[in-house]
């Protein structure tokens, strides 16, 4: 243990910018970014599954409102959505008296809500595409077995749709990681926020931003390899057979 800290001090010796203190800011930023991205992705996924099923419904009055929602959230910049929720939440009548107020007053939750609604919209469309691509034969086979609509959805359509959606969903996760950088705009100290702070403190843009860019690059690669691994496992049946 002592060795490592000595090595660490050696590494930082003479470096005015990357001191243990500033590295601490970057670490806190990493925790914040991971929390924001992870929580919004999980919540977005939970929202997107029923929305995608509704979006693929044959009834216009079910699918159209969902289309309207995804169209608006995919057609406008996330920054605007964040501003609307961040600045707008104060003006909901009576919100300041409810028990939500202490939560919503901080920047974290408006940002989380904006990110969740945004990623849910994109994920809904990804899943809808995957559901639509289910082969007719599988559906007919399920019907021939006398499966009900919901059983067919649960046992036949969703499992294969999830797998088909995997590559596109991996892109969405990376997109979300990159989009989360705008959390720093509403005063959150995420990775980009930490970089901005270090830049402002030392007036060293190259050090501050190149370092954070390298961290983002590593995170992106980690996500990329994780999804490649998942695809290898879950889409094994689609790979060309080795003879």
């Amino acid at each position: 243990m002592l060795d490592i800290s000595a090595w660490f001090n050696d590494l930082l010796a003479g470096n005015l910018i990357f001191t243990p203190t500033t590295l601490g800011y970057y670490w806190e930023g990493l925790v914040m970014t991971t929390q924001l991205v992870f929580l919004s992705l999980v919540a977005g996924l939970v929202l997107a599954v029923p929305l995608a099923i509704m979006r693929s419904s044959k009834h216009k009055w079910i699918s159209l409102p969902i289309y309207f929602y995804t169209y608006i959230f995919r057609g406008t910049p996330l920054l605007i959505q964040l501003y609307i929720i961040y600045y707008g939440v104060v003006f909901i009548d009576g919100i300041q008296e409810t028990f939500f107020w202490p939560i919503l007053r901080e920047a974290f939750y408006p940002a989380l809500i904006a990110f969740t609604l945004n990623t849910a919209a994109y994920t809904t469309e990804i899943f809808r595409g995957a559901i639509k691509a289910t082969s007719k034969g599988e559906i007919e086979a399920a019907r021939a077995y006398g499966m009900s609509q919901s059983l067919m959805m649960r046992r036949i359509i969703m499992p294969s749709a999830f797998r088909r959606a995997l590559p596109a969903y991996g892109n969405e996760v990376i997109f979300m990681l990159h989009a989360s950088a705008i959390a720093s705009v509403v005063t959150l100290m995420d990775l980009t926020g930490a970089a901005r702070f270090v830049y402002a403190r030392f007036y060293a843009p190259f050090d501050a931003f190149l370092f954070v860019a390298a961290i983002y690059l590593c995170l992106t690669f980690a996500i990329l390899y994780f999804f490649r691994f998942l695809e290898k496992k879950l889409l094994a049946h689609l790979r060309p057979q080795n003879t």
Partner: protein, 233 residues
């Protein structure tokens, strides 16, 4: 006209900035994308490697971080170069690194990487026999590119191009963070000043939707144009 508590004219000006920024960076991105795609398909090892590093790094880092790097670092970099020129060669130039140029360059660079991938796939989809036929007619490489490869490549590239454009359009909103007065910045300032966020942010969101819808219509027409000769699928 639209007054919006006196912010109307500034919002319209901001919309102009957004559109100019988007169109100029699209042009830069297309040029860079074509160069990248060419480099990626070239026989030269070094060119291929450089293009791969460019597309990988750019697509792995958030746009906002790249934008800040170029915007905050750009002036320092430019000053260092002009200082060096002055001390070594007594060339006295002063280059002002403005936010608009930084925005166009960064967005162009970012989407050049995405366009490169789109164009590469599209170029590879063009039938090799067509290129050989062009050469057999005695066309020069440039002529083959202009008359055969480019028009057919565009047919395959348009869906990806339209996708990239939609993302690019939304990315322009980020320049408001680095101090450019586009419509998002005006709207954010106005909402803070008047405490009426919906009155300004919702119209701006609507303008984005409008631009997206208009460009979708244009892309559908372009696709029809480039699909001529393929039964207009």
């Amino acid at each position: 006209m639209l007054d919006l508590q006196g912010y109307g004219p500034r919002l319209i000006e901001g919309a102009g900035v957004t559109i100019q920024l988007a169109v100029l960076s699209l042009i830069l991105a297309i040029i860079l994308g074509l160069l990248t795609a060419t480099a990626k398909m070239s026989r030269n090892w070094f060119l291929r490697r450089t293009a791969t590093v460019y597309t990988t790094v750019i697509r792995g880092v958030p746009d906002l971080v790249l934008m800040m790097l170029l915007f905050f670092g750009g002036q320092i970099g430019v000053n260092a170069i002009s200082d060096m020129l002055y001390y070594n060669y007594e060339i006295d130039i002063y280059i002002n690194f403005n936010a608009f140029a930084a925005g166009v360059i960064t967005i162009g660079f970012i989407f050049g990487a995405y366009m490169g991938e789109t164009f590469r796939g599209a170029f590879m989809a063009v039938d090799n026999g067509q290129i050989e036929a062009g050469k057999a007619y005695g066309m020069s490489n440039a002529l083959v590119f202009r008359r055969i490869r480019f028009p057919q490549m565009m047919r395959h590239a348009l869906p990806g191009l339209s996708n990239n454009w939609m993302v690019l359009l939304k990315t322009t909103a980020l320049v408001s963070v680095i101090g450019l007065t586009d419509m998002v910045r005006v709207a954010a300032e106005a909402s803070r000043a008047t405490h009426e966020p919906f009155a300004f942010l919702l119209p701006v969101a609507a303008v984005y939707l409008l631009i997206a819808s208009v460009s979708e219509w244009i892309f559908v027409r372009l696709q029809k144009r480039y699909d001529i000769g393929f039964g207009g699928q």
